[in-house]
C-alpha cells in the first residue's frame, strides 16, 4: 500500500541458528542502549524496546521461539543489569517474562484473531488492548516477585510497576508494529518517493529541535508540536510511515534527554506523552491504509466495469447486425423458395425474372450491412497511438482470466524482449484479442487434458509485430476453416458468428492482417500490427 521509509526487510521463512543468535545479540544490545534513567536496584527503565523485538519474533515465527526469549532475558540480567538477587529468583523472573509474552502472542494469534499485518483498524485495536493489559500483568508479577525476594523496598513498589509497565508497553507499541509492517508478506502498491520521505524526516527532526532545543524548560508543553509531522506522514504514507516516524521521535526523545540532561523521573513523564503519540500514529496510520485499500478496491471494480461495458457494447453491435442481416437473408430464402415453385409450375404469369431480381437486390442489401459495419469500424474514431505489445497482451488476458480460471484453463502471455511499440487503438484491439482468447478458452474447455491457451507477441518482420493466440483444442475443421471469417459461420450453440469477421475488419483497419495459421494440433490465430514509427 504505502512505501516504507526504511528499506523493506526480508526475513527467512524459518529462523536458523544465525538468525536466533542475531535476535539474542540485538536484544542484549537494545537493552544496553536503552538503559536510561534506571530505577532502583532492578534497573527498570522507562524505555524498554527489547520486549517489542521478542513479541515480534513470537508473532512472526510462533511460540517455538519462547525458550530463546528466556535465554535473551537471562543474558541481559547477567550482562547488563547485574541484579542483586539470588539465582532462583532471576531464573523465575526470566521465565515469567518469556512465558508472559508467549501467552500474549498465543492469545493474539489464536482467540483474538490478530492477523499480524496491521491492515485493519481491528488489528490495531486488538493489539493495543492486549498489549496494555498484558504488560500491566507482567509488570505486577515481576515487581511482586522481586518484592517478595526483598530486593525492592515497599515504598518504591508502585513507582516501579509504573516505570516497568510504561517501559515495556511503549517498547512494544513502537517496535512491534514497525517490524510487522516492514516485513509484511503482501507487496506494496505505490512506489517509494525518496524526496518526500527525506522532507518528512526533516520535519520530524525540526519538530524535535523545536521541542528540546528552543523550548528549554518548556519541553513537556511543546510536545504537541510533534503531532504535526506525524499527521502529515500518516496522511501521505499510512501505517508504514507513522511507525517509522514514531521510532524516529522516540530515538530523538531519548537522545535529547540523554545528552541534554533531565531531572530524575522526568523521562517517565515524557514517555506517557510518547505513548499517546505512538498510539495516535498507529490508529491514524491504519485508518489511512484502510481508506486507501477501499479506494483501490473501488478503482479495480471500476476497471472491471469498464471492461464488461466494452464487451456489452460489442455484443450490442453484434445483436443489431444480426437483426439487420436477418431481414435480407429471410427475404432471400422466401423469394428463392417461391422462385423454385414458379419454376416447377412453368412460371405461367412470367413472375420468375422479377423474383430473381429481388433475390439479387436482397443479397446486395446484406452486403451493404457488412460494408456499413466496416465503415463504422473505420470511421469509429480509431485513435492510433503507440502501444506496448506486452501491455496489450496482459490487459486482454486479464479480462479473460476469470473465465480461464473458472474452466481450469492455463492462460499464459509471453512477449518477446525488446519488442517495439505498435500503432493501434487500444480498445478495439483489446476487444479483438479478448475475443480470440475467449474462443480459444471455449475450444479447450470440453477436453480432459491440454487445457492450455498461449498468447504471444514476436517480431514478424521489419515493420510488423505478430501476436498469436494458440490453443490445444480439437482445432478447426477444414470445411469450417474456409468460411471462418465470413459472417454467421459458427459452430457454437450460442454464437452469432460475427466475432471473427468483426475482428478481421478491425485488424485490417489498423493496416494489419488476421489469419488462421496451419498447425499440427489445436488452432492458432495470428494477427499483425504495424510498428510505431
Amino acid at each position: 500500500m504505502t512505501a516504507l521509509q526504511l528499506p523493506s526487510l526480508s526475513l527467512p521463512r524459518r529462523p536458523g541458528a544465525a538468525f536466533i543468535a542475531g535476535y539474542i545479540a540485538l536484544y542484549v544490545a537494545l537493552d544496553w542502549v536503552s538503559f536510561i534513567d534506571p530505577l532502583g536496584p532492578l534497573g527498570i527503565t522507562p524505555w524498554n524496546p527489547p520486549p517489542g523485538l521478542s513479541l515480534f519474533l513470537l508473532l512472526r515465527y510462533g511460540l517455538a521461539m519462547t525458550p530463546w526469549l528466556f535465554v535473551a532475558a537471562f543474558l541481559v540480567e547477567v550482562l547488563v543489569r547485574g541484579v542483586p538477587a539470588p539465582w532462583p529468583v532471576i531464573v523465575a523472573a526470566c521465565a515469567l517474562l518469556a512465558g508472559g509474552y508467549a501467552l500474549v502472542a498465543a492469545l493474539l494469534r489464536g482467540r483474538l484473531r490478530f492477523h499480524g499485518e496491521f491492515t485493519t483498524l481491528r488489528d490495531v485495536t486488538v493489539f493495543t488492548a492486549a498489549v496494555v493489559i498484558a504488560t500491566l500483568g507482567i509488570a505486577l508479577a515481576y515487581i511482586a516477585l522481586f518484592a517478595a525476594a526483598g530486593v525492592i523496598a515497599a515504598e518504591t513498589y508502585v513507582r516501579s510497576v509504573a516505570q516497568f509497565w510504561i517501559g515495556d508497553l511503549i517498547g512494544i507499541i513502537v517496535v512491534t508494529p514497525l517490524l510487522l509492517v516492514a516485513t509484511r508478506m503482501r507487496g506494496r502498491v505505490h512506489g517509494f518517493a525518496p524526496g518526500e520521505a527525506l522532507l518528512q524526516g526533516i520535519s520530524v527532526v525540526a519538530a524535535l529541535f523545536l521541542v528540546f532545543v528552543s523550548g528549554v524548560g518548556q519541553q513537556l508543553k511543546l510536545f504537541y508540536v510533534l503531532f504535526l509531522p506525524l499527521t502529515w506522514i500518516a496522511m501521505r504514507r499510512g501505517l508504514a510511515g507513522t511507525t517509522a516516524a514514531t521510532l524516529l521521535v522516540q530515538i530523538g526523545l531519548i537522545a535529547a534527554l540523554l545528552f541534554g540532561g533531565h531531572r530524575p523521573g522526568e523521562v517517565l513523564d515524557f514517555q506517557f506523552l510518547m505513548l499517546a503519540l505512538a498510539l495516535t500514529g498507529l490508529f491514524l496510520g491504519v485508518s489511512v491504509d484502510e481508506r486507501r485499500t477501499a479506494e483501490a478496491k473501488l478503482r479495480d471494480k471500476q476497471t472491471e466495469l469498464d471492461r464488461s461495458l466494452r464487451a456489452a457494447a460489442a455484443s450490442e453491435l453484434a445483436s443489431t447486425l444480426a437483426h439487420e442481416l436477418n431481414q435480407p437473408l429471410s427475404a432471400i430464402g422466401t423469394y428463392t423458395r417461391s422462385a423454385q415453385i414458379l419454376l416447377e409450375r412453368g412460371d405461367p404469369d412470367g413472375e420468375l425474372p422479377a423474383t430473381m431480381r429481388k433475390v439479387v437486390a436482397e443479397a446486395n442489401r446484406a452486403g451493404m450491412v457488412m460494408r456499413r459495419l466496416r465503415e463504422f469500424v473505420l470511421t469509429g474514431a480509431v485513435r492510433l497511438e503507440p502501444l506496448r505489445p506486452a501491455t496489450l497482451l496482459e490487459d486482454a488476458a486479464a479480462a479473460a482470466l476469470a473465465r480461464a480460471q473458472q474452466h481450469h484453463v492455463l492462460l499464459t502471455t509471453v512477449a518477446a524482449p525488446d519488442l517495439p511499440a505498435v500503432l493501434g487503438d487500444r480498445i478495439p484491439l483489446e476487444t479483438v484479442l479478448h475475443n480470440l482468447i475467449a474462443n480459444a478458452i471455449d475450444a479447450v474447455t470440453g477436453q480432459e487434458r491440454g487445457r492450455v491457451v498461449r498468447v504471444s507477441a514476436v517480431r514478424h518482420d521489419a515493420n510488423t509485430v505478430r501476436i498469436s493466440v494458440e490453443d490445444e483444442g480439437p482445432g478447426i475443421a477444414p470445411e469450417m476453416a474456409a468460411t471462418l471469417f465470413e459472417p454467421l459461420a459458427t459452430n457454437k450453440a450460442h454464437g452469432l458468428g460475427l466475432g471473427l469477421p468483426i475482428s478481421r475488419t478491425i485488424v485490417e483497419a489498423h493496416g494489419g492482417r488476421l489469419w488462421l495459421e496451419p498447425t499440427a494440433r489445436g488452432a492458432c490465430f495470428c494477427l499483425t500490427l504495424p510498428v510505431a514509427p
Binding site: 436477418n326 437473408l329 429471410s330 432471400i332 422466401t334 417461391s338 429481388k358 442489401r365
Partner: protein
C-alpha cells in the same frame, strides 16, 4: 391445398413482406400486405371476415404485442402467428401467453410456415363454424315468446314437466303444449338436439 383464406402479412420490412406474400399466394392463400401494425388495424372493418395474421414482433409504431392486444380489445379472434428474430425466445413466449397461436423464427422456413398456417386455418375455420352456429341459434331463439323461453330454459336445465308446471303455476299438459310449440319453432325433433342448440347459444 387449403381454402382461399385471407392472410394478413404485417411486417415493416418491404422485402420480407413482399416475399412472404408471393410465397403465400403460390400456396393458395390470399395475402393482404400491411406495412405497419397501425395500418393493419386501420384496415380492419366492423364486420371482418375470418383470416390469419402473420405479425412481425419488432416494428416501429405499434409492435406485434400491441397489435395483438388491440385485436383482443376489438374482440377479433383471428389466429395470430408471430414472426420473431432469431433467438428472441422471451418475446415469443410472451406472445404465446397473450394468445398467439404460434411463432416462427426468421429466416422463415417454408415447411414450418406452411404447417403453422394450416394449423391456424383449421382454428380459423372452427372459430368460423362456431360463430355461424351461434348466429343461427340466436336467430331461432328470437322467434320464441317470453313464456316459451322460460319453458325452454327449464327443460334444457333438465327439469321434468311436472316441476316446470309447478314452478310456472300451470298444468303439466300445458307445459307439453309449450314444449311441442317451441321445438317446432326451433326446428328440432328430439330433446338432445334441443340441449345441443342451447349449448351453441352460450357465448
Amino acid at each position: 391445398m387449403p381454402s382461399r383464406i385471407n392472410v394478413h402479412v404485417v411486417d415493416d420490412d418491404d422485402a420480407v413482406r413482399d416475399s412472404l406474400c408471393l410465397l403465400l399466394r403460390l400456396h393458395g392463400y390470399v395475402p393482404r400486405p400491411h406495412a405497419s401494425g397501425d395500418a393493419f388495424l386501420a384496415s380492419i372493418g366492423d364486420a371482418p371476415s375470418s383470416a390469419i395474421v402473420l405479425l412481425d414482433l419488432r416494428m416501429p409504431g405499434t409492435g406485434g404485442a400491441g397489435v395483438q392486444a388491440a385485436l383482443a380489445e376489438r374482440n377479433v379472434r383471428w389466429p395470430v402467428i408471430m414472426l420473431t428474430a432469431h433467438g428472441d425466445a422471451a418475446s415469443a413466449r410472451n406472445a404465446l401467453k397473450s394468445g398467439a397461436c404460434d411463432f416462427i423464427e426468421k429466416p422463415v422456413d417454408e415447411t414450418v410456415l406452411l404447417a403453422a398456417l394450416e394449423h391456424a386455418a383449421a382454428e380459423a375455420e372452427a372459430a368460423d363454424a362456431a360463430a355461424a352456429r351461434r348466429t343461427e341459434t340466436e336467430r331461432r331463439l328470437a322467434r320464441l315468446t317470453p313464456r316459451e323461453r322460460e319453458v325452454f330454459a327449464m327443460v334444457v336445465a333438465g327439469r321434468h314437466n311436472r316441476e316446470v308446471a309447478a314452478a310456472l303455476g300451470i298444468s303439466p299438459r300445458t307445459v307439453e303444449v309449450y314444449k311441442a310449440r317451441l321445438m317446432d319453432k326451433l326446428d328440432v325433433e328430439r330433446l338432445p338436439d334441443l340441449i345441443r342448440l342451447s349449448l351453441d347459444s352460450a357465448p
